[in-house]
């Protein structure tokens, strides 16, 4: 017989009390000051607006123009009655070139994203962990690139790339995407590598692993979270990128989604193809929304990480 058992039997004799569904809040904490009330109202308005917008977008992509403008908040009816609920999507996909653009964008973004991380990771590792003199200055030199607006480089880039036929060429745009995404990615990854512990690297060195091997089989796996975050953030940025696509692509067959939407906007307004236009917007937005629903936590921390450091 031990004390513990004694206590247990004693406790069992007392009938178990049920906790209240919601314990009382600290006194005074639920009191609304004017400022807090204002904040709450704005927060809820903001949130409601975002949800409404998403609803408007998805509902609108199943509506005919008359419904879009006269019944913006109602559920779509007419296309469903006609038995062609996906008419807008079919129009955007086939007639407005979003089908081809979707394929182009997926391939371009995938290739560019993988290349960006493949080039940035070794650089970030070397800059943050090899202890070479001048690494700090060089990291800053690369990081400054984040502050350069792309408008600054488009003329010299366009002119010189035109000379070697890399304009209106997806490989040319791929190169530009990779190069211009480097500053942010290198900066983000140096932060990740810097935060890794020294011990594992030292242990690998003592075990006789070569530096390249240490990087590949110890550091890269450790930084995997950071690499994936970098990929996701670059993927979102490039998926939505418009300015460079606008400058470097001229032929419809090469268009990315953002570029295609840009051109289609004009035509859609002219032909009153608003249903197709909203479906086009949905084709750009929904894949990102799905990605966000799955990876919200990672995307939010990743996108704001650079700022926290």
């Amino acid at each position: 017989m031990t004390v513990v058992e004694t206590q247990a039997t004693a406790a069992a004799a007392v009938p178990v009390r049920k906790a209240p569904r919601k314990p009382k809040a600290a006194p005074g904490s639920r009191k609304l000051s004017p400022l807090r009330l204002l904040g709450l109202i704005v927060v809820w308005l903001f949130t409601a607006f975002n949800i409404l917008l998403l609803y408007w977008l998805i509902a609108g992509s199943f509506k005919v123009p008359a419904e879009i403008f006269r019944e913006p908040f109602q559920l779509p009816v007419i296309l469903f009655q006609r038995g062609t609920p996906f008419a807008n999507y079919i129009y955007a996909w086939n007639n407005a070139g979003f089908g081809d653009a979707f394929l182009v964008t997926v391939l371009l973004v995938a290739a560019a994203t993988v290349t960006i991380v493949a080039v940035s990771a070794p650089a970030a590792y070397a800059l943050s962990r090899l202890g070479v003199r001048g690494s700090g200055a060089m990291t800053n030199f690369v990081a400054i690139g984040m502050g350069v607006p792309f408008q600054t480089v488009i003329i010299p880039l366009f002119v010189s790339m035109a000379k070697i036929h890399l304009t209106d060429n997806l490989f040319g745009l791929y190169l530009v995407y990779v190069a211009l995404s480097l500053p942010f990615t290198v900066f983000l990854l140096t932060g990740f590598f810097r935060s890794l512990p020294d011990e594992l690297e030292e242990a690998a060195a003592i075990d006789g692993a070569s530096p390249v091997r240490t990087f590949r089989s110890v550091m890269l796996p450790l930084a995997r979270g950071g690499l994936i975050t970098a990929m996701i953030i670059n993927a979102i940025g490039l998926w939505n990128e418009t300015l460079l696509a606008l400058v470097f692509l001229q032929t419809n067959a090469h268009f990315t989604l953002a570029r295609a939407l840009f051109s289609f906007y004009n035509a859609a307004v002219y032909q009153s193809q608003y249903g197709g236009l909203i479906a086009g917007v949905a084709i750009i937005v929904l894949p990102m929304l799905v990605l966000y629903l799955v990876l919200a936590r990672r995307i939010i921390t990743g996108l704001t990480l650079g700022a926290g450091k």
Binding site: R36, P122, A123, V142, L157, V247, S263, N266, V285
Partner: protein, 317 residues
């Protein structure tokens, strides 16, 4: 793969003091092979073109088959005299400062509420959502929403309340529509950055202010703001960088896709685009480069100023 420093050469490697010296040397040899690809791409695609742009801004160059000819500061003086540039410059400054102050006030207001709000995580995720939407799509949505007749959502709602349709996208009001759109689209990002910093503030500081009887405003002024000051500074730098290059959102909102928007709605980004590859008028590469240089100058000056203004002793907690 492991042959970058073959064992044969180990004996001839000059020894650095310390047991790991040899290894350190071998490690340091990785530096250039690892850094060079990224550095080369960076220099070729970003640094050199930036330098070229600065040089070209001192030339007269239409970009239509002619060659650049040096003409000193002529581009700059012509540009400053042009109405289009002036309104672009004004609009950019307006978005930068008024939009910036508005966005940060909004973000601060939100930090007061979101810190201890039930369901705060979900609300934060919803607020962040516009950041993953293409700016083109956002511009388009606001363009449709503020269409001048009552096909636009805003005028549709106003009409329900019996208010006359407002020409939202006309000169004078369009800047405010753009400002609203940009604040809406970016607030979530800055709220998230600030909230991440607010979440790191130890809760007992707020408990102590509760015991002192501090109001939400006093808690913000005495605890939240001083404790997140560094992050506010970084967020300010990010806002400056992002606000100066605003382009497609305004372009689409104010125009309609293929056509450039009316000059009174321009930003510096649109000015550069219009003078280089825009559909309006003939290209003028020299002017575009001069404006691009203005953008870089603006970013640099403002970022340096902001860092100066926000500097203070680091606090530890």
């Amino acid at each position: 793969m492991a042959t970058l420093a073959p064992p044969v050469t180990r004996g001839t490697t000059p020894r650095v003091t310390g047991a790991s010296g040899g290894h350190l040397m071998r490690k340091k040899r990785l530096f250039w092979p690892f850094v060079l690809p990224a550095l080369a791409l960076y220099v070729i695609f970003l640094v050199l073109p930036t330098v070229a742009t600065v040089v070209l801004s001192f030339t007269k160059w239409a970009g239509a088959g002619d060659t650049p000819a040096f003409n000193g500061f002529t581009q700059y003086s012509q540009m400053w005299a042009s109405d289009n540039f002036q309104s672009a410059f004004q609009n950019t400054l307006l978005l930068l400062f008024v939009g910036g102050i508005g966005t940060f006030l909004l973000a601060f207001l939100f930090t007061m509420v979101l810190r201890d709000m039930r369901g705060g995580r979900l609300v934060r995720a919803i607020l962040f959502f516009p950041n993953i939407v293409a700016p083109v799509a956002i511009g388009m949505f606001f363009g449709l929403m503020f269409m001048p007749d009552k096909r636009g959502l805003a005028n549709f709602v106003l009409d329900k309340f019996g208010v006359e349709a407002v020409p939202f996208l006309a000169q004078g009001s369009i800047v405010w529509v753009v400002m609203g759109a940009i604040m809406w689209a970016s607030a979530g990002f800055y709220i998230t950055i600030l909230m991440a910093a607010v979440d790191r503030i130890p809760p007992y500081l707020y408990e102590d202010s509760d015991m002192a009887g501090a109001s939400p405003w006093q808690k913000f002024w005495n605890v939240t703001l001083p404790m997140t000051w560094d992050v506010v500074g970084i967020a300010g730098v990010l806002w400056t960088i992002n606000a100066i290059k605003i382009f497609e959102l305004v372009f689409v909102l104010a125009g309609s896709g293929g056509y450039a928007p009316p000059p009174f709605s321009w930003t510096l980004g649109i000015y550069v685009f219009d003078r280089s590859v825009g559909a309006n008028g003939t290209p003028n590469f020299g002017a575009a480069c001069a404006c691009a240089v203005m953008m870089i100058l603006l970013v640099s000056v403002l970022v340096v100023l902001l860092r100066r203004l926000m500097r203070r002793d680091a606090i530890q907690f």
